[in-house]
Every structure is written in structure tokens, then in C-alpha cells.
Symmetry: C2
Subunit: 121 residues, 2 copies
């Protein structure tokens, strides 16, 4: 399990990464590599203030509250979602820093440079 405090992630395409770095990034990507979870992220982002409680999210994905809560918990554990208790409900928000860290780890600058060098040779 990726801890939310783990610095993430080594740039995959800049230099060979080690086993631990690969496990860490894979765990982050696995948390979002699921169509239900991507739709939940999308619905949360589209709400006013880009936050939602589980009560808002069951209807759009047509799943039970326990199932939706399970998906939300997995994304919270992976650092992709933040949560805040308000009265009886827990509200979820997307953690853009975590998503941007995953995106940055996949940056293609070096690969594009290598392709330009091949084309020029």
C-alpha cells in the first residue's frame, strides 16, 4: 500500500527505476486503473466545489453504498482522495498533488528526445 506521505514517484522514463519505486508507482496507478473508480473521480470533480459525499455518488454509478464506499476507501488509502467528516457524512475531494505526481512520473521528455535523435541520424 502506498502511504500518502511517501514521496512519489521516480520518473520512469528518465533512468532505470528500482523494484521499490516501481511497486510504489504501480500501487498509485492501480488505485485509479478501474472504470468505476475513474467515474467516481469524474463525478466528484464535477460537483459544485469539486467535492461529494458517498450519498451523491451511488446513483451515478448505480452501485450500493457499501460498494461505492469501498472504492472511495481504496482511493483514499492510495492518497488520490482526501476526506472530511461533516455531521453524519464523509465528504471526498480529489488530491491534485497525488494525481500530478503520478502524471509527472510518466513524463515522456527523454523518449521524445531519443526519437528526434533517431529521426535526425
Amino acid at each position: 500500500m502506498t502511504s500518502r506521505s511517501t514521496p512519489c514517484c521516480a520518473p520512469v522514463l528518465e533512468a532505470p527505476i528500482g523494484k521499490a519505486e516501481a511497486e510504489d508507482l504501480a500501487a498509485g496507478l492501480r488505485a485509479i486503473a478501474d472504470p468505476i473508480r475513474l467515474r467516481l473521480l469524474s463525478f466528484i470533480a464535477a460537483q459544485p466545489g469539486a467535492e461529494a459525499c458517498v450519498c451523491h455518488l451511488t446513483a451515478p454509478v448505480e452501485l450500493s453504498q457499501p460498494t461505492v464506499s469501498h472504492h472511495l476507501k481504496l482511493m483514499h488509502d492510495a492518497g488520490v482522495l482526501e476526506r472530511e467528516k461533516r455531521g453524519a457524512w464523509v465528504f471526498y475531494r480529489i488530491n491534485p498533488e497525488r494525481l500530478d505526481a503520478l502524471r509527472d512520473a510518466l513524463a515522456t521528455t527523454r523518449v521524445r528526445r531519443a526519437r528526434r535523435a533517431r529521426a535526425a541520424s
Copy 2:
């Protein structure tokens, strides 16, 4: 399975995405959400010319050639790798357009804007 010709992918955090769009993006992310496959991408990118044949890749990940070939095939099927036959060997290269499309689909601009608006209200 995501076809390499499928236009990918709807921006998840800009507006609610549909089931088909979510499946397409999830398939692309699943192809790289694996520590062995991330290390293979990393080793390929680090080779001279950012390309490698399976013969270069078995030692770094300490796996058999059939296993490495299976992982490479999954990433090729998902459009993440391109391949080219040269004599007896198949060489693999990373497709930066496909990786950038996955990264772009996770752009956090709208979420960050919503957070600034919450902080200012």
C-alpha cells in the same frame, strides 16, 4: 482491450465521463499499473535510442523470455509500445503519444481551480 486507433481519452476531471470512456482509460492505465511493466518501460527508455529487444530485457527484471514477451505484448496491445522486426528480433519503443494521452486525461486544472475558489470563499 483498448485499440491503438481509439481516440483516448476523455478528461476525467473536467466533466462526468461515461462508461465506455471510463473503460477505455482504465484499460490503458491497467497496461502500465504493474511493477514489472513499469520497470520494462524504464529499461527500454534508458537504452541507447530508447529502444530494446526482449533479449536486452530479461536480465534486468530477472524473468524468463516468455514472461517478458507476455508483458511487452500487453503493453503493445494497449498502444503503449511500438514494435519493429529486425532480423530474428523484435525491437520495442515507447509510444509517447499514448502515454501523454493517458496523462492528459488525468489533468487536474479544474480541481485546482475549485480548490482555489473554496479557499477564497
